[in-house]
């Protein structure tokens, strides 16, 4: 299996009878995700809502190839991902699926700007001007040369959002992206994300436990 099967784009991601192994044997009432057939399409905007412990982060990890502890199938463009090998996933992570993990996974010892550059240097997707503009809009431009560990959790979240956008992508996976943001910053973040997603013709799959990112016309999915 080669990634060329997905070039130039991953148009759809399909979950077929998928269920996290930890849920096997438990009753799954009214889930729109687990043990069904669900397809995410490029160009759409999805919001996955669920109570804590519903398996949101697990789902995001599955989509990013980070974990495979599920039953059923995950298909990209109709092709089973079980056959994908490490280099294929790395190519997907550089060019097809962008991911903002819940724990942000920033490098605390690197400066804010270096954290972004670390991701951006893989594809040189963004120029410095755009990075600085987004940092300014999100109010963290003055912290550009601060080590990430010295930033507040809210600032770190805004930094991680910009880093997630620093690559070409077909799907943008955001795991509780604005949990530490006030509504003003939530709106600015949503605006930047919407601009970039529109520019790339991509899809957004975001999760929330009650404080969703304020994107327009989201398709709600109850986990």
């Amino acid at each position: 299996m080669s990634t060329s099967a997905y070039l130039p784009h991953i148009e759809e991601i399909t979950l077929s009878e998928m269920l996290p192994r930890v849920f096997v044997g438990e009753s799954i009432p009214n889930s729109a995700v687990w043990l069904t057939n669900l397809t995410f399409r490029r160009g759409k905007n999805y919001l996955v809502e669920a109570p804590s412990g519903g398996g949101k982060s697990s789902l995001m990890s599955y989509l990013y190839g980070n974990r495979r502890d599920f039953k059923g199938k995950l298909l990209f463009n109709g092709v089973d991902t079980a056959a994908l090998r490490l280099p294929d996933w790395q190519e997907i992570r550089r060019r097809h699926i962008a991911y903002l993990p819940q724990d942000l996974s920033l490098f605390p010892e690197l400066t804010a700007i270096d954290n972004i550059k670390l991701k951006n240097s893989l594809t040189d997707h963004l120029d410095m001007q755009r990075i600085m503009e987004w940092m300014r809009r999100l109010g963290i431009d003055t912290r550009a040369d601060y080590p990430a560990r010295k930033m507040s959790i809210g600032q770190q979240q805004r930094l991680a959002i910009i880093r997630a956008l620093a690559m070409p992508f077909d799907f943008l996976i955001l795991d509780e992206p604005v949990s530490h943001l006030d509504s003003a910053n939530n709106l600015i973040a949503a605006e930047i994300i919407a601009e970039e997603v529109a520019r790339q013709g991509a899809a957004v799959i975001s999760t929330s436990v009650g404080n969703p990112i304020l994107l327009h016309s989201a398709i709600n999915i109850k986990l």
């Binding site: 974990r67 790395q90 992570r93 996974s105 490098f107 670390l118 991701k119 240097s121 893989l122």
Partner: protein, 415 residues
């Protein structure tokens, strides 16, 4: 560097002390191993100096002469069955026969009077010293004399001769001393022209040729000439009868190319088959001792090198364990495992090459000190390639194994 930020990120927590510890222990291990091998190579010729044209793993054997054999001359010869038996031994690579001359030889000191009488005519040499001699030959492949020196054709002006070192000693310390004649060095004798007078067994044919002593041997207790010379003259002086007489061609001595000279099976086997080994055994036992000592030293050096390999592996592993979450995050960003492994590979390569270069320098310095006294003892000295090759192989092994372990560790953090 492809991704400078990645190396900046991962180089943090690098323990200079641990890397220095590796470089030091690696340096010591490499120096001991390569230094010992270098010394062995440099000193080795000391024990083979007398016979430098004969490899040490040759044995010259003959059947033990007993009183019963004295009457039956052919009883000391090796039959084709005997030779096949020896060839079948596992420690034998090949067996060569000593070919005997089927003519008599008389040698004078001086030039043969070929110009006046022409080859093939009996002549008088201008010398006064004269002695009866005999010739033997072994296949050329068993001798390591440069081909142009150990080569004879009917057109050659001189016949190269190898004589036993013992003959020279006999002359110098026995005959010359008693007769009040000057003692002669090997090079002096090599410079003396010899007139060889060859006579067929029945006395009907005579030839006179020039000869020269080309080398001395401790191992060959005989007088050797090139095989082509024996073949040609046996034919020439017996009118071809010699080659027809196969019994006369049975050799009484054999030269054996031994595949493993240290094999303990060789001695008892020869003893059991009533065979004697010619040559100086003290030289070979000294060489054997040198080999044992070098083996021990090389083993110790190898153990130290092995430990240094583990020190490096351990410190890199520790460093990677500390950076485990960073490695995982980098792979999550889409970096390839070799992008992530590169900073560690660089540390390994630089420290290992540093230790290797230091080691090469140390051996070169050591060598400068011991080579002069060693050469004064008569050793020829080997080439520095011994060190270069040993170090290159060991460094490649250490670097290769560490590269592999780093790569596997990176992969292990992927999921």
């Amino acid at each position: 560097m492809k991704y400078p930020l990645v190396s900046r990120l991962l180089r943090r927590n690098t323990s200079t002390a641990r890397i220095a510890g590796f470089i030091l222990s690696n340096f010591i291990g490499l120096t001991i191993v390569a230094g010992a091998l270098q010394f062995y190579n440099d000193a080795r010729s000391l024990w083979h100096e007398e016979d430098s044209f004969v490899r040490s793993d040759y044995l010259v054997v003959n059947k033990k002469v007993t009183s019963v054999h004295t009457l039956d001359l052919s009883a000391n010869d090796f039959t084709p069955e005997d030779i096949a038996d020896i060839e079948a031994q596992p420690w034998v690579r090949s067996v060569g026969e000593f070919k005997k001359a089927a003519f008599r030889v008389n040698t004078h000191v001086g030039f043969a009077d070929i110009e006046r009488h022409g080859r093939g005519n009996p002549s008088r040499s201008s010398g006064t010293l004269s002695t009866a001699m005999f010739f033997e030959a072994v296949p050329d492949s068993f001798l390591d004399i440069p081909l142009h020196e150990w080569h004879w054709t009917p057109e050659s002006p001189e016949v190269p001769v190898v004589i036993s070192k013992d003959y020279l000693a006999l002359y110098n310390f026995g005959f010359a001393a008693a007769a009040g004649l000057p003692q002669l060095s090997g090079t002096t004798v090599s410079g003396i022209p010899l007139a060889l007078e060859l006579t067929s067994e029945d006395g009907s044919k005579r030839l006179t040729l020039n000869g020269r002593v080309a080398a001395y041997s401790k191992r060959f207790n005989t007088i050797l000439v090139p095989e082509t010379f024996i073949d040609y003259m046996n034919e020439e002086l017996t009118d071809g009868q010699h080659s027809a007489d196969t019994v006369a061609q049975n050799p009484s001595r054999l030269i054996i190319d031994v595949s493993s000279p240290g094999d303990t099976a060789i001695g008892p086997w020869l003893e059991q088959h009533n065979l004697e080994v010619a040559g100086d055994k003290s030289a070979s036992s000294a060489a054997y001792l040198l080999k044992i000592i070098v083996t021990i030293v090389v083993s110790i050096g190898s153990v130290i090198s092995l430990l240094s390999l583990f020190i490096l592996m351990l410190s890199i592993s520790l460093l990677m364990e500390k950076n485990r979450s960073k490695l995982h995050s980098l792979l999550m960003l889409g970096y390839n495992p070799d992008d992530v492994a590169t900073p560690y590979w660089n540390i390994i390569t630089i420290s290992c090459c540093g230790a290797t270069l230091m080691s090469a320098a140390a051996i070169a310095i050591m060598r400068a000190f011991y080579l002069t006294p060693l050469k004064a003892l008569g050793a020829e000295g080997g080439t520095f390639w011994t060190t270069i090759l040993t170090l290159a192989i060991m460094a490649a092994l250490i670097i290769g194994l560490n590269f592999l372990s780093v790569y596997r560790r990176v992969i292990s953090t992927w999921r």
